[in-house]
Each structure stands twice: as structure tokens, then as C-alpha cells.
Amino acid sequence: MNRSRVSFSLSVLVFSRCALVVAMIGSGTASAQDGPSVRFSGFGTIGVAHSSEKDADFTSVGDQPTGAGHTRSWDFDPDSKLAAQVDVVASEQLSATAQLMTRQRYDDSYRPELMMAFGKWQFAPEYALRVGRMPLPVFLISDSRTVGFSQTQIRPPVDMYNAFSVYHYDGADLTWTTNFGGIALKSQVYAGTTKTRLPGDETLKLTPLAGANVTMETGDLTLRASYIRGKASASSPAINGAFQGIRYGFPPGALFPGSPEIPGDPALADQYGVTNKTISYSSIGLNYDPGRWFVTSELGAVSAVGVSAHQTLGYVTAGMRIGSFTPYATVSTFKDKIAGSTTNNPVVDALRTNSAACSQKTLGVGLRWDAMKNLAFKTQFDHIRPDDGSTGLLINTQDSYRPGSVYNIFSASADFVF
């Protein structure tokens, strides 16, 4: 009751501020053609997911605290969302964009979040500078991962996108868009800072971060390469408690009844704690779309940081277009591997082993139906196979959950734009 009232008044506040800014900018309108123009638009997804695994939760994104399976048999939380956007174009050179979204967040609320708020200066025909809050363009469709209507699938493949919960960053980017003998080339460099809230009262910062990507498009072929590097800091009561113990020692019986004393080891705590640790994400993406059919593929790697293992991610999606129907299939994989050997500290080793027990493979088939010009219906069936002894990307695993169990996800959605 309180929570919804707070979120409502917050959204009213944000919206009324937007409206005020819009009104202030819009009040100078002289002529419809070369004066500022204001555009309101939005998009959303109503999606439901069902999991055959009852002893753990399936989520679309890693920042969701609950999902389909244990918490709810049929769950609207993984994919449902609604966003409103305002674009103010002041001149050919200057524009501003803001986007507000409501979806399930780290604390299980649907409190609206400001996903974008930036000013753009097109200072030369081929160059643009943006400053403010922008989507973090890590993978091929990271910048539009929430826009279900723009995607063939119900959601970006979880094996690639679930683990990366950072949606946006605050900073600046510079893009250069040009044409070299029939090849459209877009290069982007950016730098800034992010702070992401995760379940379990965890905060993940990438401060500072910097990245670059190049997209090349010729005919029906698109190729993209991307690299991002940042200083990561992760903090939560659980993480901080564990590292306090690793640093200063666990007294006898501190971990479980009769547990032995573990001496403190500040060097180990520094080595495996995630405080200002360099992390990098690299990926390559490919899309070939001659019209009647298409194939999209991505490969990515995330560097090991602290107790977190090195990860390799990838998928291939192929589909056909038959009138307004697009049947498709996806195979994807998430693989993590501990770098280096075991330590002399059982707590550090347990944390490392635990973080590296997420490997899984997915086979998915689905159908998109463009029912109306603003509305698409989708249905998708995923068969997920965690590695032996792995929980895969499931969360909220119960005592009765058996690691390595194969499970299926059935999803359906309506995606719309307005």
C-alpha cells in the first residue's frame, strides 16, 4: 500500500518534471517546421513465463529477485514492462531524450526507473556527442534489450544477457557514422560510471568505465565488435561479512557448529574481494538478414574478477519470415571457469566454486506473429540443461532442488509500441 503510493507519487513527480521541462522548451515554438518539436512515445511487454522446475526461480535478467518456478508457477515478472519516452528536438543539431520504465526491480517493486536522460549534440553531419544517462552498449542488442517489439524472441537469450544486469551508465559518448564505398560504419566510444542495485541488498559499481564498439553494415550483413573495461566494486551485507571474516579470521564455530578456526588473511581478502577490480567484457556479433530468413549470432567473454569466474557466452538464432509469422530457433550457452588453483582458505574456495556453478546450455524454439502494426504476439519454448552439479542461472534454489536438473520454460508475450 505504502510502497505503491510512494511509487505513484514518484512517477507523478518525474512525469510532471518532464512535462515542465517540455513545456519550458516547447513554449518557444515559433513555427512547426524549424522550431522545437516534442514527441511522446512508448513501448511495453505483457509476458508470462512458466517453469517446469518447481524448486528454483527462472528470471530474464540477473537483477530480478524472484521468477517463474518456485515463487510463482506462472509469472508475469520476468518479461513484463512498460516505458514512456519523450524526445525534444530543438534543432537539427540539438535534441534531448528521456525514458522512464516500470518493470520488476531488485527489491521486487515496480518503482519507475529513469533508463535514459541525455542531451545530444550533432556537431557535424557524421559526429554526435551525447551527455547524460544512456544504455550501456555491451552486446549487440544491449541498448534495446527491453524493447521486446524490436526483437524476434521473447527476450534476449538469457545465456548471454541474464548475467549482465547493468542497463545504463551516466557519462558521455561520441559516435562517428560514415559510409566507406557502400559500407556503413558506426563507431562509438564512451566513458562514465554506473551503479546497479541487485537483490540481496547488493550494489555493483563500474566506476570508472570506458568502452568502444564498431558496427559495420553492408547489404544484408551486419558485424559488430565491442569492448568495455571498468573498475568493479561489489558490496552487500553478505559479501562484506564474508570478506570481513576472510580478512580478520573466523573464530571456531563461526561458520557452522564445530567449524574450525580460520586465520585472517588480508592479502587473500584483497585478492578476491571485488573492490576497484578491473573487469572487461568483449564480444563480437553477426547478423545476416536477406529478408526471407535471418541468422544472428554473438560470442562474448567476461574476465574473471575476485571470486567470480571467467565466463564465455554465446548463441545462434535463425528464423524464417512467412507472411506475418516468424518461426525461429536458438541455441545458446553460458560457461564459467575458475581461473588458477585452489587457495588455503576454505571460505574463498567455497565462494569461488559457488560463483562458477552456473554453466548451462539452452535450446529454444518460438514464433513471432506481427498481428497489428504496433503489436506482436510471441510464444517460446526453452529447454535448459545446466551442467552436472550446476544450478545454471536459476535463483532461489530450495533444499529440495537438485543441481544439474534439466527443465523447460514456456513463455508467451504481447509486445507493443505507441
Binding site: S95, T97, E126, D143, V147, F149, N179, K186, K373
Partner: protein, 146 residues
């Protein structure tokens, strides 16, 4: 007698069909810029890259301002089909991605050939498409789409 009826039906069919074909063949669209624009020609590839939001400049390097026809109009659907090979649904999905990721603003929309000509002749860098029969001295044809 029966044969005669059939042959008459066949003749009628031929007439109807050829009339249809004529209409289809005549519905050719042209890509236009302002009459005084320095741009004299664009290729289908360049046009496709422009209207798919992949490049933002005209062949001479100046900023392009895209002028679309009304969403759902035959002119618009025909244009995208010929220029990019993509359906209206694919175009809608693609521009949703560009718009809602904050990458680009959707093209300016004009209702009908007359308004396209008005925008194209008054907005610097504007490029649009109209029916071949609507061409007049205010605009310059840079590509014909058959």
C-alpha cells in the same frame, strides 16, 4: 456456344490483368530532394542505408533529413519494400529499436506527395519519396524505384 463464353471470359481476364499490370507498372516512385540541392543522384544502397538509420549523411556529406509518408500508406510500404527489401513490420521493429535505444529520431512524416514536396523543398538536406506523376519544378529526382 459454351466455347464462346469461355473465350469471352478469357478475353475479359486478359484485359483486366493487363490493366492491373499497367497500374502496377505505373505506380513507380521517385526519390526527391530540393530542386536546388547539390545532390544529383543516390543509389538504392545509399537510400536503403539512409532509411534504415545506418547512415545520416547524403552522398555529398551533408546531413540528411528523412521525410516519410504516413504510416500504413501504400506509398510508404511500397517504398520500403523497393528500397530496402523489408516489410512494414520489419521497418517498424527496426525503428522501434533505434528510437527506444536513444540512437536516432524517427523520420519526419508527411501526409501525401504534396506535403513531401513542401518539406523537401523547404528543409535543407531533406530527402523523400513521391509518385512519379507528382514531380514538379520544386523537387529534383535523384532515383527512380520501379
Amino acid at each position: 456456344m459454351k466455347i464462346q463464353i469461355y473465350s469471352r471470359t478469357a478475353a475479359t481476364l486478359v484485359v483486366v490483368c493487363s490493366a492491373l499490370l499497367c497500374t502496377l507498372a505505373n505506380a513507380s516512385e521517385v526519390v526527391v530532394v530540393a530542386a536546388n540541392s547539390p545532390v544529383s543522384a543516390v543509389t538504392t544502397d545509399q537510400l536503403s542505408q539512409l532509411f534504415l538509420g545506418k547512415v545520416h549523411t547524403l552522398p555529398n556529406g551533408s546531413s540528411a533529413v528523412l521525410i516519410d509518408q504516413t504510416e500504413g500508406s501504400t506509398a510508404r510500404d511500397d517504398f520500403y519494400s523497393k528500397a530496402t527489401g523489408k516489410s512494414a513490420a520489419q521497418i517498424k521493429a527496426l525503428w522501434s529499436r533505434l528510437t527506444f535505444s536513444g540512437a536516432a529520431q524517427p523520420p519526419k512524416s508527411a501526409s501525401g506527395d504534396a506535403e513531401v514536396k513542401k518539406f523537401v523543398s523547404t528543409i535543407p538536406g531533406a530527402i523523400g519519396y513521391i509518385d512519379k506523376t507528382a514531380v514538379d519544378s520544386s523537387v529534383k529526382v535523384v532515383l527512380t524505384l520501379d
